[in-house]
Symmetry: C2
Subunit: 419 residues, 2 copies
């Protein structure tokens, strides 16, 4: 417990949006208020916005319990996100001084940052700087990423909802595929997000259940991709069944290190800012299958839908995201700094979890991949261990608050001027 | 009322799958049973399957009220669909004789076909043949298509659910887009199904509501597409806002009649069977925008998700599909033939509808486009008249029956052997 009177909190969101990141924001806000903090500020577009002096008073946005419920059901970063990596402290002290001047001006006690690997790097650097320079501000990270690739935590908020959407959508895509006549064979290739970690693509396997066969093959970026072996497998599958569904990660990589989508001239183009677009893997593979197997193909990219589909969020995920936000605020309030909240699975069946805090130095910039032993030997599916791990995370629903036929999101006057 | 004792019914599904086509199947089955018919057969893969002698006894699949509810929530054609157009009667009498031999063998009184334009052509030809050749079999069509392009009916079952999914998903995509920093501008182009009719693409406008701006421009296939005017509009929008969302129809066509996606070398490729793939319009336009406007772009195709998303079906749509199935069965039972059931809107606010039957000769092979006056003068959006028309059709939800975290669909042992 800090000796001085509690003052203010600031919270930011960072990295790729998810369906659960706003639930963590709601958790931080509610716990900060419950614990007697005065103001809760929100950084606009994360640390990047804060550096530019952009922040808002969250009490203007969250005014009652209904706003909390709407926020839990609002996809993407309500406060805006950023992909900004702080320089090393020694490289740009002025920047750190500027940040801490703002934090001092706003009388901040606690700084909560909701994000993934890069965001935890931000917590690490700011907490290091605070300790070295004698600022009594606590910095705590709150995990978030659909990629599920953060170290030390059983899983990350955002993953469960994306996994649920992917599994439910694949069930629908497979039904759709079966319903059309496929005399000459048809191959549907579904592209799922995940540059280096295959957790989300692996979630395609969750669609395999009593009323659905699930995909016939799953290719994760953890295993070097071999086009010849892939085509051989597709040909084998086409002999067994007329309609074949395959889930692939957008980040499939060849043994030589190139992304699969680089094999195509057209797809994976570089935009005006030199950003390599990491989509087009399924599209390229469909071309390849059409050419080599002579069958009908269709590529489907779940695109941003998979990370933004609040309308089909997992209740476990949304509740855990809320709890993790509260736990981060609680940890900071109780004096922790340079820490991240992690989720600990205390029981798998029935599923139960709790939170702990871990040293952010052990988490930042690390990346947790799908363990090799959770992928089948031939690298074309996941094992039952993965299913046991992931299935509890997609359980339960959060009924959308429907207005005039569509899910309602939290929206306050001036929202657009913020972002 | 037929003078003879009621015998059997056969029902088939045809054309592109939808989220509501099985609800019509459930309606046909329930009404046939209520009206005292003995067996209700289902054609496997529509008329094409029937010609090959493929059918099933639906009572093996629908055994109780729960099965009816599951069927209402099952996307795509449960019985399998086909894209088969019957030849003219004079061209292949043997084929018609074969079909009627099967119908006679199965002691069919009523033949119900759930589908779109081509399917109504099937009803037309078979009913003509029956009358000319003295068969006492009634042929009634049940409308279905996400494209909403059937003549004489206010709208078609399947459209409302697809429209709801599209509007809800665009709300989520827009939230996602706003949450990321867009200093240099970003354009998202969403590709929506509809080869000639823009009804579905127009539904993107339904996402504009109290908590969402909706797309900034909507391009329908009804208006010849002009790339220069498009780029000019994008540049104008990018001056007004950093994040621009545009909905386009997959069927956008240039003044010279070519599809827009034909402008690209890569996209819109022809598969092994010579089928031109009508996707890649958004992808091509994204390339064009990146090149001409120098901003970040992302193309999103809703692909088959938009026609299969039972998990977010419209209650109005699913109930109307069920009623229309029942009405088709009722009409056939009462002696109608060569007819299609249409939906008549009796009141817009509060929304109310009823069914009537119309001569299928007036419907088959016709195509209803979005009226020019429902598209803005400059051709880049829809008018309020469209919104008033479409909004009632996306109202209400059909709560999915969730098992182990995922929506359950009707699935009976042997289902896969059927299709």
């Amino acid at each position: 417990m800090p000796a001085h009177k509690k003052k203010n909190v600031i919270v930011g969101q960072s990295g790729g949006p998810t369906a659960a990141i706003n639930s963590s924001l709601a958790g931080v806000y509610r716990t900060a208020k419950d614990r007697g903090y005065n103001k809760v500020y929100g950084m606009i577009h994360g640390i990047q916005g804060l550096i530019e002096g952009r922040y808002t008073d969250l009490s203007e946005h969250i005014q009652d319990g209904l706003d909390i419920e709407l926020l839990k059901r609002t996809p993407a970063a309500y406060l805006g996100s950023c992909r900004y990596k702080l320089p090393e402290i020694c490289e740009n002290k002025e920047l750190y001084e500027k940040i801490f001047d703002t934090l001092t001006k706003l009388e901040i006690d606690c700084f909560i940052y909701i994000g993934g690997n890069d965001s935890m790097d931000t917590i690490k650097k700011l907490s290091d700087y605070a300790i070295v320079n004698g600022y009594d501000i606590r910095f705590v990270g709150c995990p978030k990423t659909i990629d599920n690739d953060l170290a030390l935590t059983d899983h990350t908020p955002g993953y469960g909802s994306a996994a649920k959407y992917i599994a439910a959508s694949i069930k629908e895509v497979i039904r759709d595929g079966y319903s059309l006549e496929t005399d000459h064979g048809q191959v549907i290739i579904i592209e799922i997000m995940g540059r280096n970690a295959g957790w989300l693509t692996a979630a395609a396997a969750l669609s395999k259940c009593e009323d659905c066969d699930g995909p016939d093959a799953i290719y994760l970026p953890e295993i070097p991709f071999d086009c010849d072996a892939f085509i051989k497998n597709v040909k084998k599958l086409l002999k067994e069944k007329a309609f074949v569904t395959i889930a692939v990660s957008e980040g499939l990589t060849l043994a030589d290190g190139r992304y699969v989508n680089e094999l195509s001239n057209e797809v994976g183009y570089v935009d005006a800012f030199g950003h390599k677009q990491l989509t087009g893997t399924a599209s390229y593979l469909c071309h390849l299958v059409a050419e080599k197997c002579g069958c009908k193909t269709r590529s489907i990219e779940f695109s941003t839908l998979q990370r933004a589909a609040s309308h089909l969020a997992s209740r476990i995920d949304i509740m855990e995201a809320y709890n993790v936000g509260g736990a981060a605020m609680m940890a900071a309030d109780e004096g922790d700094t340079g820490k991240m909240v992690v989720i600990v699975r205390t029981s798998n069946d029935p599923y139960q979890s709790t939170t702990e805090v871990k040293d952010v130095h052990r988490i930042a910039n690390d990346e947790r991949l799908v363990p090799r032993e959770w992928i089948t030997k031939d690298g074309t599916y996941v094992t039952n261990e993965f299913i046991q791990y992931a299935k509890p995370l997609i359980q339960g629903e959060v009924a959308p608050i429907i207005v005039d036929g569509l899910p309602r999101h939290l929206y306050k006057p001036g929202f657009h001027d913020l972002l």
